[in-house]
Each structure stands twice: as structure tokens, then as C-alpha cells.
Symmetry: C2
DNA sequence: CGAATCAAACTAGTATGCAAGTTGATAAGT
DNA sequence: ACTTATCAACTTGCATACTAGTTTGATTCG
């Protein structure tokens, strides 16, 4: 998930130290390895990563602009607590973008595209048996990305990913086999609606799928109150 | 237009030198005062602004992440040329978000809200007489922002603004009294559809309004080829 | 024993210097 | 005249030092 920012315009530029640090920190925040509320300092990370403060500072800045790190002058930077509002906002925006992609996709989707979606579903079914949840997750992402590609708006995936990131910390708290099974079910329903060329049904199914996080949110918020704002 | 980035989570933090430089540069890029393709260096700006390279460097970095500055190691930073694709992408994304806001707004809009939209239109009509185009532009933005607020998703405005920025350089090349008149017309049609509680018509009207940039794009691209990529 | 005080240890913002690489003009060679 | 080689003047990435402000915890006073 490194390319979360709007770098589609910038030509291939070498991987800087700042980039690497950003990626490491980003992954750590999303996976809750760095728990919400934790205070970290540029110096501290710099020592751990064996670089100077400068590239760490750059990475901190990027994280702060994504909303995952609160950095204020002369104060320790702090992993942002999960904001219920921010999650709901992310769901709304992701839905807005992805529904529009679906809408565009339905107007031009080919049998070949549907086949490709079905192939992904088959892989997801296989992945259910894999003990590593990441395998399924990758395919999950891939399906949604494929939808953007089919719509002719692959760039939309960048923004969707950005919003998705705000939902991911919740997802990491709801990891379970049962959840993956029901996600696959929802994916299957979506692809079937698309296959039937039923744009209305497809849209309703997609909206419902993306709204699932909302239902999780309340439960998780009670279960891990320390991770949340307020 | 300073708050273009995702800083909704960060608490009120003092204005740093880096912030100020960013704002100045951002405005200059959007208004084409710094034309696409121009090469600028950290040192150069630092001298002009009478600060060290560090805050300039931070500002450069922010601009690059927004897609307005191409910065590569050991090479002069360059104001990005306008990419036709990037503009089309921005139109698509802005439309996606704003249509979803409209959709949500139509489900709960009150007479008072409509009144507030109408009041804005009246001000726009007055602003047509103002020699300064910025007055009209402010009200234009305000109308769209109000729509987000009514929908209960004020945060969406942040993302819309971000996408809008990619369309603004085009807008600055199409500034004219006639254009403002027709924009007001489109705004009026939109508000009237909303007032009639005709969600379908309102959506079509909004889509058409936002698509206007597409029509300008081809013309402008021929008129100012130097500003464009390729 | 609790509350106020103050200093030491932190924090990030900024300034500056060096290193590594690009660029463009000039000079040399054909 | 044209190509090629060279080199000086740039560029940004990173390291380090310094500044100003916050935090924290021990100490002192009530």
C-alpha cells in the first residue's frame, strides 16, 4: 500500500530514505502495530531506523496529512486515535467514488471483464483456506481495483485506497474467518448483479457491502475504547 | 484556498513558515502566476522569502504530493504542466463526490436550506457587476460548499476542493464575464431543480455543470499548448 | 500529605553544510 | 561545421547544530 498519495503525475523517481520510512510507518499504523494514541518522536524513530531526523520528519509530515499522525510544534507526535466520524466520512467518500466507478463500468463492461471478476472470486474462495488473512485481503483489494480499471478510471483507485486506509484499522480489529466468508458472499452477489447487467441491483449490493464497516464500528468501539477518540 | 489538504483531524496548530510559503506558492501555481513548466529551486525561493531552504523544502514536498510540482533528486523542481488526463480525472472524482452529496442532501433538505441557496444566488447576481472575478468565484465555491454542508457531509468539501484545484488552472484561462453569466445560469437551474425536490433533474443539472470544464479543456489546450503536457 | 514551583529533559521548526548527481556551456578534436 | 569530452555551476537528499517552546517529575512550601 505504498502509493497512497497523489503521485500519479510524478515520474518514476528513485526510492528515497524518506519513502522507505514512510512505508514502514504507514504499514505499522494501519496494522495497529503502532497503536492509536502512542506518542513517537522524530529522534526516536531516527535512531531505530539509523538515519537522521530529516527523512523521518518528511515521513511524519506525510502521515500527518493522511490523518494518521498528529504533529504539533514542540510536542510529541501522536498516532491519531480512530475517530468514529473520520471512519464514517471515509465510508461515505469511498462509496461515492466507487459507486460512480460502478456506474461507469456498467455502461461498457464486456464478457471478458466479467470473466476476470469471476476468476478473482475463485481465487478468493481458495484463499479462505489460507491461514494468512493477508492473502484474502490482497484479493479483496484486487477485486475493487479491477472494478475501477473496468470503468476506465483506474486513477480513482488511488483515492479509494486513501479512504480505505481509514477503514483498515477497524478491519484489523474484526479479522476472522467468518468475516472473510461473508465478505466473499457479498463480493459474489455483486459480481452476479454485474453479470446480469442489473446496474441498480449492483449499486445497492455495493453500497451494502461498503456499509458493513459501519455495523462493525459500534461493536469495535465498545470493545477497544482506548483506540478511539473521545 | 489554504486548507486544501487533509488537515481536518489536526487540531489548530500555529502557522509555521513552511505553511506560509506553501500557501503563497499554492496560490501562485493555481493562478498560473507560476506557469506550468517553470523550473524553480529551493534556494531561489528561500532567498526571495528570506528564510532558509528547510521550510521551502517542506512546502515543495507538499506541492509535489498534490501533483503541482515535480521534484526529483538532483534536478530542478518544475511546476507540473497541466495534464489533460489529470483534469479529466479530477472532473470524474469531483462529480462522484458531489453527486453523492447531492443525493444525500435531497433526502433531508429543508425550506430554510433552499432559502440559503437562493440567497447565495442573489449575491452571485450582484457579483456579476463586480470588476474583480474573485468575488464571484468565492460565491461559486460557497454554493458548492453549502451543498456539502446540507448533505451532512461537510468533510466532503475538502476532497472536492482538492480535485477542484486541478481544474482551477483551466478556469483561470477561461475567465470572462460571459462565462460567469452562464455559470450563474447553471447554478440557478440546479437550485430550482432542488427546490422542486426533483432529485433526478438536480443530478443531471449538476453533472452537466461540472462537465463544463471538459468542453473548455479542448479549446484551451489548443490556445495554450505550452501549458500542457505532451 | 497535597499543591505549587521550577529546572532538566524532551519536542519539533529552522538554519546550514556536505555529498551525490544533473545540466549546460565551453573547449577540444575530427 | 559538427560532434564529443570536460568541467563548473547548479540541483536536491541527508546530517547536524541551534532555537524556542512543551512536558515532566522532583522538590519545596503550605
Amino acid at each position: 500500500m505504498p502509493q497512497t498519495e497523489i503521485s500519479r503525475l510524478s515520474a518514476p523517481t528513485p526510492q528515497t530514505a524518506s519513502d522507505q520510512i514512510f512505508q514502514v510507518l504507514y504499514a505499522a499504523v494501519i496494522s495497529l502495530e503502532l497503536p492509536p494514541g502512542l506518542k513517537i518522536s522524530e529522534n526516536e524513530i531516527a535512531k531505530q531506523m539509523n538515519v537522521s531526523r530529516q527523512p523521518v520528519r518528511d515521513a511524519f509530515y506525510r502521515l500527518s496529512k493522511l490523518g494518521f499522525l498528529l504533529v504539533r510544534p514542540q510536542r510529541a507526535a501522536q498516532i491519531t486515535k480512530i475517530s468514529e466520524q473520520a471512519v464514517l466520512d471515509a465510508v461515505f467518500l469511498r462509496t461515492a467514488i466507487e459507486v460512480e466507478c460502478l456506474r461507469a463500468a456498467m455502461e461498457q463492461i464486456t464478457d471478458r471483464d466479467v470473466e476476470s471478476l469471476r476468476a478473482n472470486l475463485a481465487k478468493q474462495d481458495m484463499a479462505l483456506k489460507d491461514p494468512d488473512p493477508a492473502v484474502f485481503h490482497k484479493l479483496d483489494e484486487s477485486l475493487h481495483e479491477k472494478l475501477c480499471a473496468i470503468s476506465g478510471h483506474p486513477h480513482a483507485w488511488v483515492l479509494i485506497q486513501e479512504q480505505k486506509a481509514h477503514m483498515d484499522r477497524i478491519r484489523f480489529l474484526t479479522l476472522s474467518k467468518e468475516r472473510r466468508v461473508s465478505v466473499l458472499e457479498e463480493h459474489t452477489n455483486l459480481v452476479e448483479a454485474i453479470e446480469k447487467r442489473d446496474a441498480g441491483l449492483a449499486q445497492v449490493t455495493l453500497r451494502s457491502h461498503l456499509s458493513q464497516v459501519r455495523r462493525d464500528l459500534t461493536r469495535i468501539q465498545k470493545e477497544f475504547p482506548d483506540y478511539f477518540l473521545g
